[in-house]
């Protein structure tokens, strides 16, 4: 499905990955327009319910990205995010969702190029998987 434009939402912390995405901008690095960012103070703030909701609202893929281990502005929020992520990943797998629709990464304020790289490779990965329909259909049924 080469023309498929996946909808991807990225949950990022303001100190590292958001700043890294800003740096990609100031460096004029070009990347795919499919990823939209939501800014959080810290990855520790990211309630993983947001990730499930993303799929219900029509996302085909989700990125979570924050500061590298030991670089958290709040000292340890990213470690809590990582622990939650490990549990969440298992849960998603158990639910029968393809975990390749999820991406967890560390991008620092200095890594503009890495951010562009993650966006491009993950967009390609989700594009290969195609649109994510299952959860959305369930959510639609739920509404009715």
């Amino acid at each position: 499905m080469p023309d498929f434009q996946p909808k991807i939402v990225a949950f990022v912390c303001t100190w590292c990955t958001y700043a890294g995405a800003d740096l990609a901008g100031t460096s004029r690095i070009k990347y795919e327009p499919n990823v939209k960012i939501i800014r959080f103070p810290c990855t520790g703030r990211i309630d993983f319910m947001f990730l499930l909701k993303s799929f219900a609202y029509g996302a085909d893929g989700v990125i979570v990205s924050g500061c590298h281990p030991n670089d958290c502005h709040y000292t340890s929020g990213n470690f809590h995010a990582r622990r939650r992520w490990i549990v969440f990943r298992e849960l998603v797998d158990l639910l029968g969702m393809d975990i390749n629709r999820l991406c967890f990464s560390w991008v620092s304020a200095a890594e503009g190029a890495q951010w562009a790289e993650i966006v491009n490779s993950f967009t390609e990965q989700v594009r290969t998987l195609g649109p994510y329909k299952e959860y959305r259909e369930l959510a639609e049924k739920d509404k009715k």
């Binding site: 939402v9 958001y18 901008g25 004029r28 103070p41 810290c42 909701k53 340890s76 809590h80």
Partner: protein, 579 residues
Amino acid sequence: MEKPRTGVYICHCGTNIAKMVDVQAIAEDMKDTVNVIITRDYKYMCSDPGQDQIIKDIKEFNLNRIVVAACSPRIHELTFRKALQKAGLNPYLFQMANIREHVSWVHTDRAKATKKARALVSAAINRVNYHEPLIERSVDINPATLIIGGGISGITAALEIADAGKKIFLIEKSHKLGGHTAEIDLTYPYFYSAQQLIKPLIERVKNNKNIELFLETEVKEISGYIGNFETIISSKNTDKIPCLPAGRKLTFGNIIVAIGLSPMDPSPLKNYGYGKFPDVITSSEFENMLLSGNIIKKNGNIPENIAIIHCVGSRNNDYHDYCSRICCTVALKYANQLRSALPKANIYELYADMRSMSKGCEELYTETSRKNIMFLMFDQRNDLPEIKKGNDKSAPLIIEMNEKLSGETIEVPADMVILMTAMEARKSAKEVAHSTGVSLCGNHFFIEKHPKLDPVATTTGGVYIVGGCQSPKDIPDSVSQARAAAARILGVIVRGTAKVSATAAYINSSLCCGCQMCLSICPYTAITYDEEKKVSVVNEVLCQGCGTCVALCRPKAINIYGCSHIQMMTELSALLLSD
């Protein structure tokens, strides 16, 4: 809560946004969104007329929510919040959509970029409906300041603050003060003695009763936040000058990072043969010779053919992409000092581009070029000179190079070669960045809060960066930054309080089940348990607003101002459902 009346402003940023995003179309499309009263697009929203328009509209249309789609909120969120404040509106009834750094500068398809920008603007408009007026908290400032690094920058800042009567803890890793300035002979462009500059400053530091000096001391962990930091220091040195028993606790309100930089080891650049040829030396080694007053080769003889090679490791894709900024002028200084010491010697400057840009430095270049010094240009990107063994006794080294201006391949005879090595970040930068909570750029220099408007502050409140640790710089620039940071800190000390973000967690006690899981996860011990009511309570002064407890809380009893469940959920749904 009164019904939201939202004003939406889409910035062109000159052509920065407008050329890749159809700003007019977005302004038009958003007109019919629920609660939107007015939409506008404008050349530069951050300019005075742009802000005045917002203020005027707030008054005229009785707006109570503002959305600006422009650059990154990390740049202008504060600007627009102040505009709201001016119009009498709480500054937190505002949301920004980043359509420059995250859209127009990174995408190439105008239709797709516009679609993405529209989704971001729509998300901001929907989210702002749930914004509440917030009150910025204020914290008391401990008037003491911690300065890490006792070079010219650290010393200058210490004296500036201490002379105003405020306490300084000055921490230096080595056994002496003065940093690089204490290790150089003359300064450019006016040939003042560096020793005469630094020695009186060091004396003043030692005699200043407000400065407590810790030599051979390193800072490991710093805890706290603006106004209220603390650290425990331990020193190897307990007998020399005023060092103190191991493990003393220091408390302070502000931090200046002044750890400086290091000269690069040129050994990896094999073409220059450093380490292989004993008379190929680094600029620091030559500076030592100048200080000792003895310009001699390894065999004890006086050199006759001296070559100075620029850009060793700087502006070089394999080592450091950046320009080290001071080496060209230092090289000119060397040529002058060599000419005075050895009137008959042949002196060669092998340069890539001559960048002697500070005040008085271009003049030094002109003056130097009249002193019978040979200037030869090489191609830094593709064609570096190579040092080889020569046969001649007066020229045991031969530098083979393609001279760029003449286009000829030449051999420069030399018996001493000085390598102008790059200036690089300290090895300890990462550790200091971690303990002070400041980010590093890709080259491991510290990142300032704003590259143009706030060059000595950092995104961590109460932490300032000065001198070479921010980027390579010379003495006057380091001193300017040091005094700037000192002035900023004195300003905060005089006020006695500092505003901190209004983003803080709060607990709905009727939902709290008293599990106390949030207590153990809070990095600031801002949550306590009320034994009587059997619920957790947040201390809003200690809370830094990370929100980790919010995501953890099972019964969803904890929420956070500025990043609440409803705000984030609304932003998410609008972002995905709008396209």
